[in-house]
């Protein structure tokens, strides 16, 4: 394990009121490569922690204002999102105090004065725990991504759409905002797979999603894979006309995509159905299902209309539900 990385990654908050002890500990830790910040008592420590998170706290027991025990308890109650490794420094070695400290949330105990090697060994043990936590958080992120991201194209998956479209729709309905969705379906996709193989088919989808992502608004619009070659683009704050224009832009961009195969350069096209809600209508009966259904109806018209085109719901007419 590369020790240096831990030392730089996890700064230590040293809480000690006795000046000589504080100075000596700070010196020892700094020489070992750690980044150290010093607080004179528990109250000062909490003040510093409110501004910057310290993953490692080395604290004395008896201090004015707020002692080590209380500091421990407060840290455990307050900081839930990231782990804070707490070591209590104490001159006492009675078992009761050790137990009290551990129950208050301390991870480890050092009796004063510690030898350098003991101090550094215990700090390193704590750093190992923090590294472990870091890798777990990273793994959790990856799992979260796995469950919401389509692994082939990198866009959101159906599960994500099913979870988030209702929220978007609810919000748009409540605050009377525009919301549109674009239902995108690749034309003759089965033939692409049959003629050129699935690997090419995969590449078509991958490159197309990349292309769509380059066209839609970052951090605003989002795209989810609805089915094999079906995608839904959710466009908040977008009225039906603008959504139709967005669909047209995407349609053109996909037309212009060059997919290289071993024998030729392939072009693909997609059809689009656009539906949406508008603040000027009574949208109280619209659900995610009816919204998608309406977009699907428009998509059907696009396919019937020759493919490689965009059909948009007419919001002027009353609901045809």
């Amino acid at each position: 394990m590369d020790r240096r990385r831990a030392e730089k990654r996890f700064p230590i908050l040293l809480v000690e009121d006795e000046p000589v002890t504080a100075a000596l500990l700070e010196k020892t830790l700094c020489k070992a490569g750690y980044a150290v910040e010093v607080a004179r008592n528990g109250k000062e420590a909490l003040g510093l922690l409110a501004e910057t998170f310290f993953p490692f706290v080395l604290t004395d027991w008896e201090m004015p204002e707020l002692g080590g025990l209380e500091l421990c308890r407060t840290i455990r109650e307050s900081f839930k999102s990231s782990y804070c490794y707490i070591v209590i420094l104490t001159g006492r070695h009675e078992k009761n105090d050790i137990v009290a400290g551990l129950e208050a949330g301390a991870d480890d105990f050092i009796t004063k004065p510690p030898t350098n090697s003991e101090l550094l060994a215990r700090i390193n043990a704590g750093m190992r725990v923090l590294e472990l936590e870091e890798s777990l958080v990273k793994a959790r992120e990856e799992i979260r991504n796995l469950s919401t991201i389509d692994s082939l194209t990198g866009c959101y998956n159906r599960a994500y759409l099913d979870e988030h479209l209702p929220n978007e729709l609810e919000r748009a309905k409540r605050y009377k905002r525009d919301l549109s969705i674009l239902f995108c379906d690749f034309d003759h996709f089965k033939q692409v797979n049959d003629n050129f193989g699935h690997q090419v088919g995969d590449r078509v989808l991958k490159d197309s999603v990349q292309c769509i992502n380059d066209t839609i608004r970052q951090h605003m619009d989002w795209i989810a894979r609805y089915g094999g070659e079906e995608f839904i683009i959710v466009a908040p704050e977008t009225d039906i006309t603008a959504a139709g224009q967005m669909a047209e832009r995407i349609r053109k961009a996909i037309c212009n995509l060059k997919i290289e195969t071993s024998s030729q350069i392939l072009h693909v096209t997609a059809s689009f159905g656009v539906s949406g809600i508008s603040p000027s209508r009574d949208e109280s009966n619209v659900t995610p299902e009816t919204l998608i259904d309406q977009a699907d109806k428009q998509l059907y018209r696009a396919k019937m209309g020759g493919r490689n085109c965009v059909f948009v719901e007419d919001l002027q007419s009353p609901h045809s539900l």
């Binding site: 000589v20 002890t21 020892t28 350098n116």
Partner: protein, 105 residues
């Protein structure tokens, strides 16, 4: 009191150690005054607290004589038996003055 040797044992350069000694002298000066006052006032709790502080600082810097004297006074404070504390304090002060002199050399 071989400062050089102690410094080496603590993995410190001699000048780094001397900086800490000077800090020790500065803070203990004030603590000794408080300790003296507490002994005169027969305040066991205060005697315990001050002696404990001095002991802690001394132990850190491996000043064994100061530490053991402070420890004795600390015990007396803890057990609320402050008789004969004054001579101990006298010893402590004497030892401290010696260190203080060495520090300012």
């Amino acid at each position: 009191m071989d400062f050089k040797k102690i410094a080496k044992g603590l993995d410190l350069e001699e000048d780094e150690y001397m900086d800490l000694i000077r800090l020790f002298v500065e803070t203990t000066e004030a603590n000794l005054q408080d300790l003296e006052r507490s002994i005169k006032a027969q305040d066991s709790e205060a005697v315990f607290k001050m002696a404990h502080k001095i002991k802690g600082a001394a132990l850190n810097l491996e000043l064994a004589d100061v530490a053991s004297l402070a420890k004795e006074i600390e015990s007396k404070g803890r057990s609320n038996q402050l008789t004969d504390t004054s001579p101990l304090f006298g010893e402590l002060k004497k030892t401290f003055v010696k260190i203080s002199a060495l520090a300012t050399q």
